[in-house]
């Protein structure tokens, strides 16, 4: 296992380098440049050209790439054009919000996805199953911005239990009460994303519950709860873990709509803002961070498989 993990970790660097090259050239294919956005609607072409020159954007692309590469090798991802601060610092500032939002949302996804999925499979073709399926369908169909605004109206404006928007750091202040900022966004994101997990858990469980070893366990008189939670769920878990882990990565990197509705300073919003402002250094830094995140989550998922299913061996 250790050798396998080392191999996988070693493969991360060349993958990230490839991502860096692709992103650097791909974003420059999008028409428009940061100078035009920075100067605003009333700027003349001369003003835009002058600022492009000052920012070095009129240099040949390969020269710009060479300079960028040299900086990255020194661990410097450059300065954000739009936010005037080092890209690394900017991304780190946003990571806390996104990480905590993803974590809280994952709890909601788990609670609304896995137990109802198991229950629906066990109570197959009953009223409970139909109700839970309807609930999952609702989650998959409701636009997150609408659900977010409705929750805000209900639990921030009419019954003022939570703040409408914003976020204050939990790590920096040590104030756990700041989790209140994440309640409504997490419910929004969690509900919308739980539908897939619930349906997958149900179908995966249904498949496993037909297996011979489940029938044998039942015929041996093993308690039903033990049959479901130990024998069936463990075997049904691999697809659920796969979907769950990638849902987590998605929640961390692309919860744009929810972050916008609740004005959360997260990674997803930063991605969109950077693209709209053509903030090349920030987009590059973000894409590398997101690629790294997916690679690590992928690795953790693979390792988790081995723990769930002893038949899986990587050595």
């Amino acid at each position: 296992m250790a050798a396998y993990i080392t191999r996988r970790l070693a493969a991360i660097l060349p993958t990230l380098f490839l991502v860096l090259i692709i992103v650097f050239f791909l974003i420059r294919l999008i028409p428009g440049d940061p100078a035009a956005v920075m100067l605003g609607p009333d700027a003349s072409p001369e003003d835009i050209e002058r600022l492009r020159h000052l920012m070095g954007l009129d240099q040949p692309l390969m020269v710009q790439f060479g300079r960028y590469l040299l900086r990255v090798f020194r661990g410097d991802f450059g300065m954000s054009i739009a936010f005037h601060m080092p890209v690394t610092k900017l991304i780190l500032q946003r990571l806390e919000t996104s990480f905590l939002l993803a974590l809280c949302s994952a709890v909601v996804v788990f609670c609304l996805g896995v137990p109802p999925g198991i229950l629906a499979a066990v109570k197959r073709n009953t009223l409970i199953d139909q109700f839970l399926l309807m609930f999952a369908l609702l989650g998959a169909s409701i636009p997150s911005f609408w659900l977010g605004l409705m929750l805000m109206l209900a639990f921030a404006v009419k019954i003022p239990l939570f703040p409408t928007s914003g976020f204050s750091s939990v790590f920096q202040t040590g104030n756990l009460a700041n989790f209140r900022y994440l309640v409504l966004p997490s419910l929004t994101l969690g509900f919308v994303n739980s539908a897939l997990v619930a349906r997958l858990t149900r179908s995966s469980m249904l498949e496993v519950l037909q297996e011979d070893y489940v029938r044998v366990a039942r015929s041996k008189g093993v308690r039903e709860s033990r049959v479901i939670l130990k024998h069936a769920l463990r075997n049904a878990a691999i697809p659920i873990v796969t979907v769950f882990s990638f849902t987590f990565a998605g929640l961390m990197s692309s919860a744009v709509v929810t972050e916008s509705v609740f004005a959360l300073p997260g990674v997803g919003r930063l991605v969109v803002e950077s693209v709209l402002r053509r903030d090349y250094p920030t987009i590059q830094g973000l894409m590398i961070m997101i690629a790294f995140l997916y690679l690590i989550i992928n690795l953790i998922t693979d390792i988790t498989y081995a723990f769930i299913d002893p038949r899986i061996r990587y050595d």
């Binding site: 999008i30 028409p31 428009g32 440049d33 035009a36 956005v37 920075m38 100067l39 605003g40 609607p41 009333d42 700027a43 003349s44 072409p45 001369e46 003003d47 835009i48 002058r50 600022l51 000052l54 954000s80 739009a82 936010f83 005037h84 601060m85 900017l90 500032q93 946003r94 911005f145 605004l149 805000m152 109206l153 921030a156 404006v157 003022p160 703040p163 409408t164 928007s165 914003g166 976020f167 916008s260 509705v261 609740f262 004005a263 300073p265 997260g266 919003r269 930063l270 803002e273 709209l276 402002r277 053509r278």
Partner: protein, 516 residues
């Protein structure tokens, strides 16, 4: 007895009512913005949000009163000599920058020179300037080659304008936008911190020296009652509104027009329609392509029915107005406006025939970054199609549209808007280098004459001629005026209802306070 009790209660109530409206120091005003400005270097940006925030930090030599007329701010008195070829500015004394240094003439000279060289609107004035000199510690002289009419308005307009910063910062920054550590001005609030995505925080500048005249518009006395102002980016309009309703924000900008009746009916919310209004515009390419033909301009003018165009984007918050400048401003004129809002499809078809138009595609650029532009471009496209024009609507984000509109071979029409300005000299459509490229000898001659005339009556007469020509051969079609809707919490914010300090384009919070 009962009458006495009632009378006493009434008196007590009145006293408390008056007391409640008295200005008081303290508190943090939370302003929900639509986003974040690119930076706060007002010389190098025309973003309205940058002006709104930056005007609390930086000040200009002049500013605007409640009627949008220029009045002194950092300047104490001024003289116009040599028929307008020489302006002498006597600065107020004892004004401090946020770094503790006293404002002196050398700072003004360095700031004006930086603005003239790199500022967005600086070259408009500096192409006429021969020198800016400091005569003594508090006197600055500006020398013009020829008289330059709009000098005072330009020195007052902070958007892309000449904010005054310390000499060392002006020289060190050159053409690059100032960095946050260089945000040093003379305003009533100073820059404290900017956490991207969370807020921009300003704090009261204790060393601020206010003017002593009564407040009027952006001018007169400025009192910093608030301890802090937070500008919080909240991109979703519904959230900005809900935030004010729930008490999470005290003030919110750019509430959609379709919510106007809702917020107007809420007693806990004060509404503000910012004046002067913005202009909704449609540009044509006069340099290249089918729209370069003036008859095509006339066909478009004949075809457009402005009411549905404006209504689609602004609900009831608009005004049909063919004058380039809004009603109530000194530059309002009806010259040429008989061609505005004709809604005559038959006439448009005739004109298209006369222009020799044979159904060639007409590329209309629009964008979804500014939703209102996208909304009115849909109606424009529909109306022009009904007149017989083969409109190809090309939808981009703002940055991409800016890129394409700079290339004359890439478009025929594009939509945009223009913020209110104090002088026609600042109209982008009059610049021969601005996309649209209106560059005819007659127009250039009139604009030159306009800029070198100092007397207002003479300038107004020339402006009327320019506006009439605008409708004959210009690169830009005025669609109408539209208002921005801002709101505040009626329970929390005081000082925003003074009739002498109306809600102007860039909301300002000196002289505002928090109740309770």
């Amino acid at each position: 007895m009962r009458r006495y009790i009632l009378l006493t209660l009434l008196c007590v109530g009145m006293v408390f009512g008056v007391l409640a409206e008295q200005p008081k120091y303290g508190g943090t005003l939370r302003y929900a913005t639509i986003g974040e400005p690119p930076h706060l270097d007002l010389m190098l940006v025309t973003s309205d949000l940058a002006s709104t925030i930056g005007q609390h930090i930086f000040e200009t030599l002049f500013t605007f009163d409640e009627h949008y007329a220029p009045i002194p701010l950092l300047v104490d008195t001024y003289e116009v000599r040599s028929d307008g070829r020489e302006i002498v500015l006597h600065l107020r004394q004892g004004i401090l920058f946020h770094n503790g240094k006293e404002l002196q003439a050398e700072d003004v000279v360095a700031s004006l020179e930086r603005w003239g060289k790199y500022g967005i609107r600086g070259p408009i004035m500096f192409q006429h300037v021969t020198a800016v000199v400091a005569d003594d510690k508090y006197t600055v002289r500006i020398l013009f080659e020829t008289p330059f009419g709009p000098w005072q308005s330009l020195l007052a307009f902070n958007n892309g304008g000449p904010m005054i910063i310390p000499k060392e910062i002006a020289e060190a920054a050159g053409g690059k936008p100032l960095t946050p550590d260089q945000y040093i001005g003379t305003g009533p609030y100073k820059f404290a911190e900017w956490i991207p995505g969370k807020y921009i925080r300003l704090v009261r500048f204790e060393g601020y020296k206010s003017r002593e005249e009564p407040p009027t518009g952006y001018g007169g006395a400025r009192h910093a009652y608030l301890d802090e102002i937070l500008f919080i980016p909240v991109p979703e309009a519904g959230t900005r509104l809900a935030g004010v309703q729930a008490g999470d924000f005290d003030y919110a900008e750019m509430i959609p027009a379709d919510l106007y009746s809702v917020v107007k009916a809420d007693p806990n919310i004060n509404t503000y329609l910012l004046r002067p209004p913005f202009m909704a515009l449609l540009f044509r390419n006069t340099k290249q392509g089918i729209m370069a033909n003036n008859l095509m301009l006339q066909a478009v003018l004949a075809a457009l029915d402005m009411e549905p165009i404006m209504k689609a984007a602004f609900g009831e918050l608009f005004e049909l107005n063919g004058s380039i400048f809004p009603k109530g401003t000194i530059w309002y004129s009806t010259a040429g406006t008989e061609r505005y809002n004709q809604a005559n499809l038959d006439k448009a078809k005739e004109l298209l025939k006369e222009a020799g138009y044979a159904g060639e595609p007409i590329r209309l650029l629009t964008n979804t970054s500014y939703q209102y532009m996208y909304q009115y471009s849909l109606v424009i496209a529909d109306q022009l199609r009904k007149a017989g024009m083969n409109i190809e609507l090309r939808v981009y984000d703002w940055a991409t549209m800016v890129k394409y509109r700079a290339q004359s071979g890439e478009w025929d029409l594009f939509v945009t808007s223009h913020g209110p300005i104090p002088d026609p000299a600042l109209l982008t459509a009059l610049s021969p280098t601005y996309p649209g490229w209106w560059d005819t000898p007659q127009k250039n001659e009139l604009v030159n004459l306009f800029n070198t005339t100092v007397d207002f009556k003479d300038r107004y007469a020339i402006w009327e001629k320019i506006q009439a020509l605008w409708y004959e051969e210009g690169s830009c079609i005025k669609l109408g005026d539209f208002y921005t809707l801002n709101i505040s919490s009626a329970k929390r914010v005081g000082g925003l209802d003074d009739p002498h300090q109306p809600p102007l384009l860039w909301p300002y919070f000196w002289n505002a306070w928090l109740k309770g």
